[in-house]
Symmetry: C2
Subunit: 568 residues, 2 copies
């Protein structure tokens, strides 16, 4: 198929009098982008043959199985499904299907390949099927806003980053009215199935949708796919969420560059905040890839009940130790959600939300008397700019917007202040200069690595197989990822088996628990074994830019390899 | 030679009881880094053979030749030198040389390869020569702090980013005492030559040093090499400074990622500030690589005498136009030095520096009465956070630190305010959300592209040839860069020919004029031809990560190609 786009800056060709093209069809492509489109991907051999689907034993839940069973009477206990090669190919290949697909939540590199894989499955095994892409996330389902995805439409998005093929959204299908709207769409489009590509919340939502459709005796089945750069949606059967690999490698490239700069310049401490609010997987992975002098892992801060003063002192102590060794520079990684992990900050913010809702913030600070002593001290410990942010930046519900706080700048100021104190005490006599960085949006929409491209394609292809064989309420599961791609396994895992309940507003709500950094897991253990060495020696690694061919083009991320036991 | 480093995270091997290794020798390398070390580079064929050096006609100066002639009585008028193949090889190959090399100023990808090229020249053509690396920039020359660069020492830095082999510094050799120190070092080490790798200031300094050595009848010759990611050191014979290619490609990768994110999310305007304070070459090159909706070029702002209000209105008008087309997102590039280019801001800062030196800034703002009316208005036009920065951030001389102003955040606030006004007037009814980015340090120390690796190696190799043939006061010049590498030319250009004078403290000072973005040059002309289209259509290009092998690994930057007439 000839590419329906213009390659590498040939802008003049775009001056055509024809009506404006939309999205990628109107795009000019860089040479790397253009080359990626036609890049053939390796393929798990089980997906290339005729296969049967074999069910495992009945499943339970991650917690509170009795409650999960009540919430999902039709789905609870479903077995996992595994694709196995079969000469007969028991899965029917003749019936045409009508399938919908939706991208839900934040961007992650590889989403387009899940859709390509699903599309190709339908082409290969259910010729004549129709694939609808719901536009703008779950709202597209509710409003029945969709586009029919054809070979030509999908082509320019193959192996490309972003979610712009059909865009995404953060709406949820929650209320009875919203479920009704989803049912209407399913019936109007006569959907045999729906693939929901999203994170923990979106997959919980997918399972509720599957339960709802089944309870209403609709034929529409629902399959989830694990997406999030944060890496916090995973379990034994779903070893990783897609996008994590690419995002970490993009951030690690920049961290590596900054490290070489720090060592060359010899006079800056670079404080790098990394995306990932709920869990610190990205920060940990970047640390394993680059060996920074200091890495703060939110889960450890929470487990050890550290205060902000503890964190500041830890950094300051390393800075002083390094100063004595003659190093007046360094690199420090901080997870975006750091202050969410600090119990005393949580407490302060809760108190502030309460006070700000009812009281006036007087300039003389009389309002502060309403804070508990501990929170009062903590508030005063914050640099003025952060105090201001705490008081002024509010979300539409009037709550303090923790996400807006530039933690890296805050820590620089706190470290400065503490070092000044130590200087007075004669414990330090260098000049400390901090440089702040936040790497966030840069990593969400990069060109997917070979791993993410291949993994996503397999996830989408598998989702098609699960739908065709009548499965619902499963999450597409591609495993054995440390092995060569041809030996990867493919199947589906009961979404209810990942669930626990949380009590909200007096009711049990099902949730897929976020996978946090495990302090006794292999990645954290490796990090904690070496961090003291990395602190004082400079064992920086600069991973360099992601390569698509040649050396390093097929290196997996450390977290995945360590969790699979494939790296010591 | 076997690599004296540990590859890719094999940290345990570093737990040896031996004394700590220093710098790269103690480093663990990523797979990409390790692979780059042994990467063979293409080589201009003229450097691979025996050659003669042929002089051109006498040179003049970029401006005020009479004054330059007075300032450089020994060097003025020197011809350019060109390497030409020769069967006899008139350049002597037997005499051992003692050569010093220094890195001066900010990091730029490729510096290590200039040193490798120089070292290899000496190995190939003056076996037994000694190469000294002065540590920490020109201060290393003055203090005679150096390291002897051996094959083993240099090896792990080949094709690697950063300046950490010998580090850099920003000192200048200016006073008679400092020149004396440099002479003493040259004599102590019995230097036949010195290679100064730096930007416009450093090359001016190199020429003064060459003049001084010659006037004192020292044998030490001085050759410069054109380094700066900012791209503002170039002329006909020196088509580009090294590092510009790599830095722009690193920034463009991230801009491309942010563009795809903007289009996928559909709700943010990303304001990206890019390094490059004096000239806007980086911003222009990134625009040509990625096609942002809005690009501000400082030189144009200055030429058209635009005010900050003009710039704000330009952005606001595009935002409104896009809103009407249904696009509530976009990407905007801003050069780091933007506000330096705005005459009214220059004026305000001059007045502020004067006032802050003598007056107290009272809270009631009575001090503001000392401002001219125009400056007073401008000050009030700034968002409060910027007002604070203008008053509080001072350099050691008490001057306002313009470089510390986060222009991208300032513009977001100004655009927000203006859009709010337009909303009141009924001209706009979208919700504007800005996201700010600053890409700086991330680009200075990346792994050099194939172009920068090759170009730098040739610059260093050529510098060796110029020194050996007795040349001084030249800048190493490698040309014909749009042709295949084997056809590149090599030679040297009289540094005095790049110079003009500036009047400072009643004296003429020689300066190599910074090469600014030419508004009638091919790169700006191409940009201005397309920017209106890029503003309203979304013709984003995502260049993707730098590739070292395979597709796009040998693409040159647009600025260079356009300036060489090699791209329409």
């Amino acid at each position: 198929m000839s590419p329906p786009f213009i390659v590498d800056g040939d802008v003049s060709a775009a001056n055509s009098p024809s009506p404006p093209l939309i999205g990628r069809l109107a795009s000019v492509y860089s040479e790397v982008q253009a080359n990626r489109i036609d890049q053939p991907l390796p393929f798990p051999s089980v997906l290339g043959k005729l296969f049967d689907i074999v069910d495992g034993p009945p499943s339970s839940a991650a917690g509170n199985p009795a409650e999960i069973a009540k919430l999902f009477p039709n789905l609870f206990g479903q077995p996992s499904a595994m694709l196995v090669p079969s000469d007969s190919g028991a899965v029917k290949v003749d019936k045409k299907l009508k399938i919908g697909v939706v991208l839900s939540g934040g961007q992650a590199p590889g989403g387009h390949n899940v859709i390509s894989g699903l599309f190709d499955y339908l082409q290969d095994h259910a010729k004549g099927s129709t694939l609808y892409g719901f536009k703008g996330g779950p709202a597209g389902i509710m409003k029945c806003k969709y586009v029919e995805l054809t070979a030509q439409f999908i082509y320019p998005y193959r192996n490309q980053g972003g979610f712009d093929m059909i865009c995404s959204g953060r709406d949820k299908i929650e209320t009875p009215e919203q479920f009704k709207q989803a049912e209407e769409t399913a019936q109007k489009l006569d959907l045999d199935g729906l693939v929901v590509i999203g994170g923990d919340d979106s997959n919980t939502n997918a399972c509720l949708l599957a339960e709802n459709f089944r309870s209403k005796n609709l034929k529409t089945r629902v399959i989830g796919c694990p997406k999030t750069i944060d890496g916090d949606l995973k379990c034994k059967e779903v070893p990783t969420s897609f996008g994590f690999d690419t995002a970490c490698k993009i951030y690690a490239e920049m961290i590596g560059n900054v490290m070489v700069d720090a060592r060359s310049t010899g006079k800056y401490y670079h404080f790098v905040r990394l995306m990932g609010r709920a869990a610190s997987h990205i920060t940990l992975e970047c640390a394993l890839q680059t060996h920074p002098n200091i890495t703060i892992i939110g889960e450890e801060v929470a487990a050890k009940k550290l205060t902000l003063k503890n964190v500041t002192d830890y950094i300051v102590d390393v800075v002083i130790k390094r100063s004595k060794l003659g190093y007046n520079y360094g690199v420090i990684l901080i997870p975006e959600g750091l202050i969410d992990f600090i119990p005393e900050v949580q407490q302060l913010i809760a108190e502030l939300n309460e006070i700000l809702a009812h009281d006036i913030i007087d300039e003389d600070g009389i309002w502060k008397r309403k804070l508990t002593t501990q929170s009062h001290h903590l508030f005063d410990f914050f640099p003025p700019a952060i105090q201001e942010q705490l008081l002024l930046e509010r979300d539409p519900h009037g709550n303090v917007q923790v996400a807006k706080i530039e933690t890296e700048k805050m820590l620089i100021q706190m470290v400065e202040t503490e070092l000044e104190k130590r200087k007075q005490e004669g414990a330090y006599n260098d000049e400390f200069k901090g440089q702040s960085h936040f790497f966030g949006y840069e990593g969400r929409c990069g060109l997917p690595t070979n791993f993410d491209s291949t993994y996503c394609y397999a996830l989408g292809y598998t989702a098609g197989a699960l739908l065709q064989s009548g499965k619902t309420g499963l999450i597409s599961s591609v495993g054995n990822l440390a092995a060569p791609v041809e030996d990867w396994t493919a199947g589906g895992t009961a979404l209810t088996s990942l669930m626990d309940v949380e009590r909200r507003h007096g009711k049990f709500k099902p949730v897929i628990k976020k996978a946090m950094v495990e302090l006794d897991g292999a990645p954290f253990k490796k990090f904690s074994l070496f961090r003291d060495q990395w602190a004082v020696e400079n064992r920086y690694i600069s991973p360099g830019p992601i390569q698509f061919v040649g050396p390093a083009s097929n290196v997996l991320n450390h977290t995945l390899l360590l969790e699979l036991g494939a790296q010591a």
